[in-house]
Amino acid sequence: MNKGVGIFRTREGMADALATVRDLKERWRRVPVQNKGKVFNFELLSVIELGFMLDLAEVIASGALQREESRGAHSRRDFPERDDAAWMKHTLAYRTPEGPRLDYAPVAKTHWEPEKRVY
């Protein structure tokens, strides 16, 4: 995730990372827990947390891969410009057996009109 879905992103990098994450999710299903203790079993906790992290990694990578623009912390080398016409919307992810299903929701605009941040 650091390498492929880090600060600067490209389609290839993110696609690679996504494939790796899916591969790891498959491997995670076969992870054994050697410690059978019932009190403060950090080994079991780590395995559970690893599963959660892989779920979230998949959500982050698949959402970022679809978003073909740059916005905030999502900086794409292959799409360096912000694209409000196509991408002024929230990404929503729903859990399915085949992986996250993506949907989109409109941005609620209030007092301040969203605009490009330039420094």
Binding site: V33, Q34, G37, V39, N41, F42, E43
Partner: protein, 241 residues
Amino acid sequence: MEAKLRVRRYDPSGNECAEYQLYTIEMPQSATVLDALLATRESIDGSLAFRCACRSAICGSCAMRINGESRLACKTKIVEAAPRGQTVTLEPLANLPTLKDLVADMGPFYDKMRAIVPWLATDPSKRAPVREYLVDAARSTKLSQFAACIQCGVCYSACPIVALDDSYLGPAALAKAYRYCHDPRDGAKGERLSRLAHEQGLWRCHTIFSCTEQCPKGVNPTEAIQNLKKMALLKRLRLLR
């Protein structure tokens, strides 16, 4: 660098285990005791239990005894604990029950924190200011030293009085009490002091300074307790405003 950890083991399920277990693991020169524990759990023994979260002396969860002294594992380098490559002995915090290996039951410690009314209360007899409550810079600086407590339990484990009498409130709770009693915004000073000024409260401190010596955040509970004693005395003599 080879780190040698001698870890106190305890398994509440009654499974047999060595009283102390020796782990040897290759670590970089810059590694902390916590780094070595994490590496040990990851690559040698998944059953090893200890708490940690922030790894940067902010959360206070990795407090334990290192070579007999109560310290934060994340704030203690291996080269500091074992300058000549000796074995580092790790034990759970003292004066608290042990749940597993290096994990102490913090319950009694938190109960005492709760007992001292650890919040600011307004004085109903005084009018609230129109705008904010002001605290002058000097007072604020003084308070921030006591407010720096991260409730790790190091002082509680280091205190020889707590070891003798587990009904003693202990350094952390009393330092916290002083932090509120000394705050000009507080209106519960009287009530708090009457909860503290008893045999198991602030009068139990014998000024041994172990808490002050071992606090990883530079809090000085002994000074706080001495100041509380002064306040309690003035209150008794009806000299405290």
